[in-house]
Symmetry: C2
Subunit: 430 residues, 2 copies
């Protein structure tokens, strides 16, 4: 499997073994104790602000010397506001209900036994992420609340920040009489450590990568444990017929332009033929005013060409435009015959992330909800709502574009499994 030097292999095996042992204690920790660790962590983050910023300064300085762009530095920087948000988020996670131990669906069976499910932690998860050091605290707080252990592997560009943050977490765990090994940071930056982390099914139950598509594809291809993965967000807005045009313009605009870089921003606009002549010039005007480039099918191009303001922003769409996640002020536009063609197009070219229909027809809405095979399907709402906080999860460890286990925004529940419980009174099987 791995050709890592023995020392990295031994290091990772040791980390894995400690994590597994700690996960047993975490699984049975009372809610009050876990919450105490989270509130203590918030207090430590505030108290240690200067020391954390000093450690962060080493990473920022190194990034500057390496000539990293300002956006990179921005993501790295632990300013006062970012640190306060991190502390506050620990308090928010403490306030969430504890998912562990929840029993449900208890039913009596003809044999006399009572059968139900109990929610329990997954065990140990590995978190692999780049640049943003706040992921250290997000992952740690969700691990603590959900009774899991976590092994964190951040990018080398944030190693000093991550080390300082992980030390705060371990301090908080110890003050709450929980095992410090429940949250461990891989202390080395060698790439071989990742290779080990994703191939230790004995010690790691699931891997959650956060980063570019390349990183996630590489990890998925090599992992020997399940991966909760988020590939692209090629999200669609389908403007149906019949439709409320004012609403359709407002929602399409919001889905595309409220922010360009999130994965739940719209990348492709489909318009029912019967709505095209009325709708496209109106949205074209909005996009033109905001400088959004429009990559159009022949039909939509013909309609939008009548709009002088849009002229400079129109392009002919190529096949690859239908599968592209731009994350930029660009949108692909296609006129489709009807709902049927819209659904087929989305299931063929989409990325199974988030898609919305704008319609006034109830049957169309229901068919879209049922037949579009994506993690989140919406009626008359902006795709930008597809996120753990907007959905009410209280926290988000990632978004899954898979169907297996967790789908869509993943909160605490995605870090748990449900086992079967049987309550009997001496029943025998015959």
């Amino acid at each position: 499997m791995s050709s890592a030097p023995t020392s990295i292999h031994e290091l990772m095996t040791d980390i894995g073994r400690r994590a597994r042992a700690a996960s047993r204690d975490m699984a049975r920790a009372e809610t009050a104790r876990k919450d105490r660790a989270l509130l203590t962590l918030a207090a430590i983050l505030r108290a240690q602000r200067q020391a954390l910023q000093q450690a962060n300064g080493l990473d920022v300085e190194a990034a500057r010397q390496a000539g990293q762009p300002p956006a990179f530095i921005d993501r790295l920087l632990l300013g006062d506001k970012v640190l306060e948000q991190m502390a506050a988020s620990c308090e928010q996670v403490a306030a969430l209900p504890d998912p562990i131990g929840e029993m449900s669906e208890l039913r009596s069976r003809p044999s006399g036994i009572t059968v139900g499910r109990m929610r329990v932690p997954l065990g140990v998860f590995g978190m692999i992420f780049e640049s943003r050091p706040n992921v250290t605290i997000e992952a740690a707080s969700l691990a603590i609340k959900s009774g899991n252990a976590v092994i964190l592997r951040g990018g080398s560009e944030a190693i000093h920040s991550n080390r300082a943050l992980a030390a705060c977490v371990q301090q908080a765990l110890q003050q709450a009489a929980l095992p410090a090994d429940a949250v461990q940071l891989v202390p080395v930056t060698e790439r071989a450590a990742v290779g080990e982390l994703i191939t230790m099914p004995r010690y790691v139950d699931v891997i959650i990568p956060r980063g570019g598509k390349g990183l996630i594809e590489r990890i998925s291809a090599e992992a020997r444990v399940p991966v909760i993965k988020h590939l692209d967000g090629n999200c669609h807005v389908y403007v149906d017929s019949p439709v409320d045009l004012d609403m359709a313009v407002a929602v399409t605009d919001n889905a595309k332009t409220q922010r360009y870089s999130p994965c739940n921003a719209a990348e492709s606009l489909l318009v029912a033929a019967d709505s095209a002549a009325a709708f496209l010039p109106r949205i074209g005007e909005v996009f033109a005013a905001k400088g959004v480039e429009m990559r159009c099918c022949a039909q939509s191009l013909a309609l939008l060409r009548q709009l002088p303001a849009a002229a400079a922003l129109l392009r002919e769409a190529r096949e690859e435009d239908w599968i592209t996640e731009y994350l930029a002020p660009i949108i692909s536009i296609k006129v489709v015959a009807d709902l049927e063609e819209a659904i087929a197009h989305i299931n063929r070219y989409g990325s199974q992330h988030t898609d919305t229909i704008l319609t006034t027809d109830h049957r169309h809405a229901m068919r879209f909800l049922r037949e579009v095979d994506s993690a989140a399907v919406m009626v008359n709402a902006s795709t930008r709502f597809s996120d753990g906080f907007e959905f009410g999860l209280g926290a988000e460890i990632g978004i899954s574009t898979d169907k297996f286990h967790a789908r869509g925004p993943v909160g605490l529940e995605g870090l748990t499994s449900r086992k079967w419980v049987v309550l009997g009174d001496g029943q025998l099987r015959h």
Copy 2:
């Protein structure tokens, strides 16, 4: 990935493409249509009994000529009773509630949107199995009801039977105006076909292997899609202190001896030190009468040696006995200090399948339920209850010893996922 000859690669790609296309139709098929296909299938199986038995005869004859043992022939044989059970099971699956389209947890959010979950099919699953041709019908009926497509890959020893059964399924699908490609049997027996099947993430969403541990480990190691896998069932009975001795004897006996070969039969008996002197001689007598070999720790050996009837059946346990699934009239026996040691032993040596505590102490029962990290944990009930029908799933496609996605007995629900649905009225994100 695969070094299969182009023709097998092309064959499997074609099967995969058809399955994916059929899965779209299955996902939106009405309940009545799916149930009609299942009832039609039951009727066809009864009507075609002679033709099916003729095809089966070819397999049975080949197995006889190859010198296969009687147990093997037994599993292969499609007698009248087996065929009638297959037909009846299709009718039972038709009578189950349709899981698809179920909406739950709909909640209003402060933004004004309503967010909930909708249960949908996984898409396409691959079923890999050995000898028993009835798996063809089990898998097909569960695929149809759950709105999935399935690709079946049976063993070469049952190829004629499986082909004849799959033809019945396709006929039933067509009569119900559903796509015949929803249930396809891999028509060739080359091993390379399995290699292709488990490495087509574009066409196959999950693999369910049924067979020996070797087969399942090989598939899990090579698969590029999730595998719902069932490795061993090293199930424990823990006799606590305090305990109702009569009940403990009856349940331990049932868990071990009611049948020896199922994966939910007990393989290891742990006894609290305070119960050992009273309990072990009694269960030892039962086991001795049934010829069950006892592989004992030093303490239990000392107690059981006082039992003349057991003498010939006593062995000293070795370390490997604690991890062994015997599937035979053999049990390992260990005296443990207390509940704590019992839980630690099970979590260390068990296979995370099914474990039971026999106790009258409520706090012990609750700790066992919570802390034993297995797919099914029981109080005062026989491990033999761990099965989809006893749990009320109405059907069982397999048992998962994993924690990810499905855990324990897997019924229709394990073949589904839940997507997010959002109902809005033009809401925008701010």
